[in-house]
Amino acid sequence: MTTTLPMADATPAVRQDSPDWVRISYASAIALRFRSGRFSREFKFGGINLLLSYDSGCLSDCGYCGLARNRPGEYDDKSFIRVEWPLVRTDEFIDRLVRYEDRLTRLCISMVTHGRAYPDTLELTERITSKVRAPLSLLVAPPTLNEERLRSLKAAGADMIGIGMDAVTEDLFASLRTNVPQGGLKWDQYWETVAFARDIYGPWHVNCHTLVGLGENDAQLMDIFGRLLNREVFSYLFCFNPEPDSRLGDRPKTPIERWRRIQLAKFLLEERGLDPAAFRFDDDGMLSRIRAPRALIDEVVADGYAFMTNGCPSSGGEPGCTRPMGSWRPTESPRDYPWRPTAEDQAAVREQLDLEALIEPGPGPTRPAHLCAPPAAGRFAPNPEV
């Protein structure tokens, strides 16, 4: 096969940096036909993720991240979320967004910590939103931003802001992102960015990424979910999946049983209004019981949304950013489903949850519906896959 693709040269004579070049996720590269390939299962995919790219790389040094400054290897060869992110020319990328616009559900630019990240993100936001109607999110790098810049990014067309908190306690954040060889990221600065973004973008237009498996316990996760819920900020769940050669490269992947319980508990708290007191923890702070009506649990499992990817919505309100296989290998049971779970998927989820051990009879939701996280449009429709 001798197809010539508009992708980066193997040995570039000049720098191939943003904003003229961007990296895109492997799934995005397939969807936009930069790369040949298939997904193991057929489903509609239109959540396009791009990442700023600089020869000098990301200046942060987070212990779990593939792009970390002190992870071995040249920046160009580093993986992010374990797979290669192809480098593509921005002009060609935008042309393809236009060409495939009918299938796009959500676009997202991920910043990195770099001196050029803000102006380049602003330029890319303007260039993309002037040509493409699909909604655009930004996963921001707080050290590069302030209130005014967040306003400018909104004026340029971004409608949602994501903050990669990742670690859910201050101590954990400090140990992985601040007090590391080239660290210095500040917990308070991240929360300040959340607050600015919440004011500027409005309720349910800001999200915090929370990673399960960095060393926190379940009670700490549920605590941050509750605090974000009260501020009308989404928490998006991510499953820790070790990046080879990173400082946490030897840390085991989060067991799927724990992951499923957190998915269920988070959904019950945020979208079904279950009282925080319904969640019981053992001496180590790990979720041991959920007190709730069994019918509610069965309905949530059958509905399936609790186990789908947490991501920004499409313009129609359905899950828009679905990151297929972002935290699981194609050979594994999906951690977060990019499709509506089928009957077979549900059976696996039930087994992983071990509901008989987890659920005990208890009162129903206490949180008023208008204070719950908003369900996306169509979420209460019958699951067509079952």
């Binding site: 096969m1 197809t3 397939i30 790369r35 194609p330």
Partner: protein
């Protein structure tokens, strides 16, 4: 060798349209099998591979291993019935060879079961048979969005 829609197909072997595997007959009623170029390309970047152990008996349609690509996993389906007598350790160590050169980098060699030699009759060979089949298949994968532009 012929080129069809940008893909090179060697004419020294048979092609199974059902599995997109090639079969190259060897001395002693043996057959070497591998991925055809369309199967290799549309799988995406191959990152891991498993193959059955030598001595494994496989029937046509059964798996001789699994292929894992960046976003895809699937069985490697044997186009023939027989006993696997050799496994290509090179591709196990470096699965990306299957993307780089699927015609050279075979998967397994199978000692064919003489009673099932008729299986070979359904395979395609020669430019006249290969061109129409492969052209349609390229179009099909292109329509599915599995081939880069």
């Amino acid at each position: 060798m012929i080129e069809i829609a940008g893909y090179e197909l060697r004419l020294d072997r048979l092609y199974d349209p059902a599995t997109h595997m090639w079969v190259q007959l060897q001395e002693g009623c043996r057959a070497r099998i591998g991925l055809d170029p369309l199967s290799s390309e549309t799988s995406g970047d191959v990152v891991a591979l498993s193959l059955v152990e030598p001595g494994t008996i496989v029937a046509q349609g059964e798996s001789v291993g699994d292929l894992e690509a960046a976003k895809f996993v699937g069985p490697l389906v044997s186009p023939v019935t027989g006993t696997v007598d050799e496994v290509n350790r090179d591709v196990l160590l470096e699965p990306a060879l299957l993307n780089r050169d699927p015609a050279t980098n075979w998967l397994v060699t199978v000692a064919l079961d003489p009673s099932t030699r008729h299986e070979l009759d359904a395979f395609l060979s020669g430019a006249e048979q290969l061109r129409p089949w492969f052209t349609v298949e390229v179009d099909r994968f292109r329509t599915q969005g599995a081939i880069a532009e």
